[in-house]
């Protein structure tokens, strides 16, 4: 088994007069009512998860759900009240300031919601900034910065100042800056929320293209469920500082763990999310039809075929072996009716 790139265990972050003492007094696990009753603000409550190398974990929640605080605890921009954050097996909360700086200079990159570019620096200098602070000489850092700027498609804009760029372009600079040091781990804090819907879509594609090339370990924060579905390997849904459910998009939609998650996923168009596997019926061993569908195909891509067929359509795996059948009724149920959990 490969080791998790980032992991957190029983992570807590409370705001108030004496959060650490308060947590200790309540055995490290107070209820939300106790927290609120004593005047503390819960930001992150007892969160544990692991992110595997090359995985995209999306943390999703509405504003005030604690998702940004959680991310900042992972990057230790905010000190957690208690719990553990492991980075490549090392406890990041025990790291000294010096070690932390080294870690950020080599292993972490972060993209911010409002871009957080330095207004007095050109695009080139903004992107080269992380290299500059770690002491790379001018020639090397500018060469590297030009490389990354080209990667994000901003070649030719090196001499511009941030205010001379559009929002989408500014975020490209933010992305380039976060990639300049070649980090292993990439934190993205609502990177596209401040952009127009059309640009947002374009940037999501751009992000996926980059990730295909770079294969970073990613923690991605968003409040937009559609965005989460588009980019995530796994999604964690947060509410009041707690992770309500963590799983693939398909799991969240088909088996919501709490009413809150169900509420969230209710309006998601299932046909672009669910695969044939999730709703097919088992079949006895026999040779499949010639007109069989792939088991991993999304419902949207097979809907016409299944709905126009009088009888259930056969489902086959990659090897062409029959694994089940899909009937018109079960497809309609899945798309429009109430779906049942397995």
């Amino acid at each position: 088994m490969t080791e998790a790139k980032i992991a957190c265990r029983n992570l807590w972050k409370l705001y108030g007069a004496d959060p650490a003492g308060f947590l200790r007094r309540h055995g490290g696990n107070p209820s939300i009512e106790t927290i609120r009753a004593e005047g503390y603000v819960p930001a992150v409550r007892d969160v544990s998860f692991e992110v595997m190398p090359g995985e995209i974990l999306v943390v999703m929640g509405l504003s005030g759900s604690g998702k940004s605080t959680l991310l900042r605890c992972l990057a230790r921009l905010i000190e957690p009240t208690s719990g553990e954050v492991m980075f490549e097996g090392r406890d990041i909360l025990a790291a000294s300031e010096r070690e932390l700086i080294e870690l950020r200079r080599h292993k972490m990159g972060m993209v911010f919601q409002h871009f957080a570019l330095l207004p007095h620096r050109t695009v080139l200098d903004n992107v080269a900034f992380p290299l500059q602070v770690r002491g790379t000489d001018r020639q090397k850092r500018e060469a590297r910065a030009r490389e990354v700027i080209e990667l994000v498609g901003l070649k030719g804009r090196e001499a511009y100042y941030p205010r001379e760029l559009s929002g989408g372009q500014q975020q490209r600079v933010g992305i380039a800056r976060s990639l300049a040091v070649g980090p292993d781990v990439w934190f993205l804090d609502e990177p596209f929320s401040a952009l127009d819907p059309l640009i947002r879509r374009e940037m999501q594609d751009e992000f996926l293209r980059l990730q295909k090339m770079l294969n970073k370990t990613i923690v991605f924060i968003t409040h937009d469920f559609d965005e989460a579905i588009r980019v995530a390997d796994r999604i964690a849904i947060m509410k009041d500082g707690v992770v309500e459910q963590l799983g693939t998009a398909e799991e969240l939609v088909t088996c919501p763990a709490t009413p809150y998650v169900a509420e969230f996923t209710r309006n998601v168009s299932h046909d672009r999310l669910l695969s044939v596997r999730s709703i097919m019926a088992p079949a006895s061993a026999r040779a499949p039809d010639a007109a069989a569908v792939q088991v991993e195909a999304l419902l949207a891509s097979v809907a016409r075929q299944v709905l126009s067929s009088e009888r259930p359509v056969d489902v086959v795996d990659d090897g062409g072996a029959l694994v089940g059948t899909l009937s018109r009724d079960s497809l309609i149920d899945a798309l429009y009716g109430k779906e049942q959990c397995a």
Binding site: R72, A75, L77, I101, E102, R104, R105, H106, M108, G109, M110, F112, Q113, H114, A116, L117, L118, P119, H120, R121, T122, F129, P130, Q132, V133, R134, A159, Y160, Y161, R163, E164, G174, R177, S178, V181, F187
Partner: protein, 662 residues
């Protein structure tokens, strides 16, 4: 969420008319009772008995005397130390003065030719903004040369050029420390509040004691006076840096020092440069007033002529100061709002740095010119134009033509407004005043605020200058009321259209750059000396903020709400009184707050034209070098300002929160 909306809803619910009156009534009631029953009260509750005076002045003088004479650090006394520090400032001062006007006779080097100074100012203006600013600054310098104000103006400019960077750097350092160390901020911010409300003269007295009088002392006073605004704007600027930007710095792996130096300070560039603008303007204002302790230059010239009641000549100096103020303000403002813009990679050196090239050209050409004709080196005195005859004629004409009506206005003002109000104020028992302030503090901000503000008033009462303070209070009150009566309609009128707004704002900006001392010239011309003249000066000066804030408040009412009013069928009048005014009112109150502060500054300066208030006492303290008295009186003035400031700010903040504007 529900609970929050619920409390909010109850708060917003219209109160019954009686209930809404009850609270203000409760605040005023004890005051009214004590005021009306003044004749029934025991004497001690009306006038502060002599025996009750706390000898703050003596304490302060003992402390200052101890520091001056006895505090010894090894080989030298405290005064030696302050004088040594003062000595340090003479070097840069001599250098800049030598460069601008007096030359360096020891090494046989002449000062910069005036054409060079004018040319370089012009290039600077072009670089910072456009050719118009270039023309303004070059023209201003040329004016000084041609109209015979060259030496005086360049001396004043030297003080500003030396004092502003020093004050700026010290203020900047204090600001950084305050942002980084919480205990220091807790210490320094209240101190800054007091320092910024101390009248100008209060800075001069300790300087006179510890450093002496003279040009040097004036420069030091200027430096000290200009530190607080820079410190405050540094704090504001650095705190205003978006948290995300700071985090971006940290995530890039910045050390603490790198975060401060490469991320926070450059990101706060604009507020910091606005701070520099403030410092420059404060320096100019102070260097004019510092002529009272012997600073040379235009201010000294003005003071001298005002004392001799040579109004025409005083106006001439005043115009030079005003020109300089406008130019310095425009230049430093342009620097603050200048944005970096991209350069093409293949630009030549001259294309990259056109203004450096232009400056070099100016230097060469003007040196050449100066070697050809002496006119380019220094404008000959016998060719200097004087505008004094013109001003003199104007003053004569005004006095002759308007003598009757002016006398009438003056007498009417005195008889029907000033004297009755003054008598009323002087009949207010001190206990009533304390009760009023404490009750207001209580209702606006609870016990803490009540204690703070009544502490301020008690200090004034027991410092032994209660009657004088009441005179100051009466003058400020009358002036502020007139400012509101006149300024509010002007603000409302100006907010009606984009065009009017920009015109009035320009006027406000311009008038605000004038050193306050300037405002004494026209009022002396119109009303001679006395209370009417003083109050007129205060009114002109203190009008600026109320107009400015009224415009700002009215124009910043969210346009959606205004549109909602329009679609509900409001007439313009209804729109103003039902929508714009209530929403802009907190902002307008902050304007009134500023107006009170401005009025307090001016009322003290107006002591120069013979008022009988606390300012006159400060003036006397300055004459007799009585530092303790000057300090205590200065604090009395500061506390008056702070009392109003604390109460109004508390009210406005609460009101804004209720309206959901903050």
């Amino acid at each position: 969420m529900n609970a929050a909306t619920l409390t909010r809803a109850t708060e917003m619910e219209p109160q019954k008319p009686l209930a809404s009156l009850a609270k203000p009534l409760l605040v005023v009631l004890p005051f009214l009772i004590l005021l009306l029953a003044a004749s029934l009260l025991p004497a001690w509750a009306v006038q502060v008995p002599k025996g009750w005076t706390i000898p703050f002045v003596d304490w302060a003088n003992t402390l200052i005397g101890h520091m001056r004479d006895d505090a010894i650090f090894g080989l030298f006394s405290f005064r030696d130390l302050t004088r040594a520090i003062a000595e340090l400032i003479t070097w840069p001062l001599a250098f800049v003065e030598g460069l601008l006007v007096s030359g360096f006779p020891k090494i046989g080097l002449a000062a910069m030719p005036w054409v060079m100074t004018a040319g370089l100012s012009g290039v600077l203006g072009c670089y910072l903004k456009d050719w118009r600013l270039g023309l303004l600054s070059a023209g201003c310098v040329a004016y000084m040369a041609i109209f015979g104000k060259w030496e005086l103006s360049m001396i004043t400019l030297s003080v500003v050029l030396v004092a502003a960077p020093i004050a700026g750097l010290i203020g900047f350092g204090i600001g950084i420390l305050a942002v980084k160390k919480q205990w220091f901020e807790a210490l320094i911010v209240p101190l800054l509040n007091v320092l910024q409300s101390l009248p100008h003269f209060s800075y001069l007295i300790p300087i006179a004691v510890f450093i002496g009088v003279g040009h040097k002392a004036g420069t030091i006073a200027t430096v000290i006076f200009a530190i607080p605004p820079m410190a405050r704007l540094t704090i504001l600027g650095l705190k205003g840096v978006a948290e995300e930007v700071r985090e971006a710095g940290k995530m890039a792996g910045c050390t603490r020092f790198q975060t401060l130096w490469m991320v926070e300070i450059p990101s706060a560039r604009q507020p910091l440069l606005v701070g520099v603008n403030q410092v420059i303007m404060q320096c100019l204002a102070m260097v004019v007033i510092a002529s009272f302790v012997g600073a040379r230059g235009l201010g000294h010239d003005l003071l001298f002529r005002l004392q001799a009641l040579k109004i025409g000549q005083a106006l001439e100096s005043g115009v030079a100061i005003v020109l300089m103020a406008i130019t310095l303000d425009q230049l430093s403002r342009a620097a603050a709002y200048k944005e970096p813009s991209r350069r093409e990679d293949d630009a030549t050196f001259l294309q990259r740095y056109p203004f450096l090239g232009a400056s070099a050209l100016v230097v060469v050409v003007s040196l050449l010119l100066a070697s050809i004709t002496p006119y380019a080196q220094a404008w000959p005195a016998d060719l200097a134009l004087s505008t004094a005859p013109f001003w003199d004629a104007l003053v004569d004409w005004v006095t002759v033509t308007f003598y009757e009506p002016l006398q009438y206005v003056r007498n009417a003002m005195l008889l029907y407004v000033l004297i009755p109000v003054r008598d009323l104020f002087q009949s207010i028992p001190w206990t009533a005043m304390v009760a009023l302030v404490a009750a207001a503090g209580w209702s606006l901000g609870g016990l803490r605020l009540a204690l703070t503000v009544s502490g301020f008033v008690l200090f004034i009462a027991f410092a032994g200058y209660w009657e004088r303070s009441l005179i100051t209070a009466y003058m400020v009150t009358v002036a502020v009321l007139i400012c509101i009566l006149v300024g509010l309609p002007i603000g409302i009128w100006a907010s009606r259209s984009e065009r009017r707004t920009s015109i009035v704002k320009l006027l406000c900006d311009t008038f605000q750059t004038f050193p306050s001392f300037i405002y004494l010239i026209p009022v002396i011309m119109l009303f001679k000396v006395g209370d009417v003249a003083a109050i007129s000066a205060i009114i002109i000066y203190a009008m600026i903020p109320i107009v400015r804030y009224t415009i700002f408040g009215l124009r910043n009412v969210p346009s959606e709400i205004v549109e909602a009013g329009i679609t509900s069928g409001c007439t313009r009048r209804q729109l103003l009184w039902n929508i714009r005014m209530p929403l802009a009112f907190p902002e307008i109150m902050l304007g009134i707050n500023q107006t009170i502060m401005f009025a307090l500054f001016m009322v003290i300066i107006a002591a120069f034209i013979g008022t009988k208030d606390i300012g006159q006492e400060i003036f006397k303290a300055l004459t007799f070098n009585d530092a303790g008295k000057g300090l205590v009186l200065g604090l009395c003035v500061a506390f008056m300002g702070l009392t109003a400031d604390q109460l109004i700010t508390a009210w406005a903040t609460r009101r804004k929160q209720r309206l959901g504007l903050a």
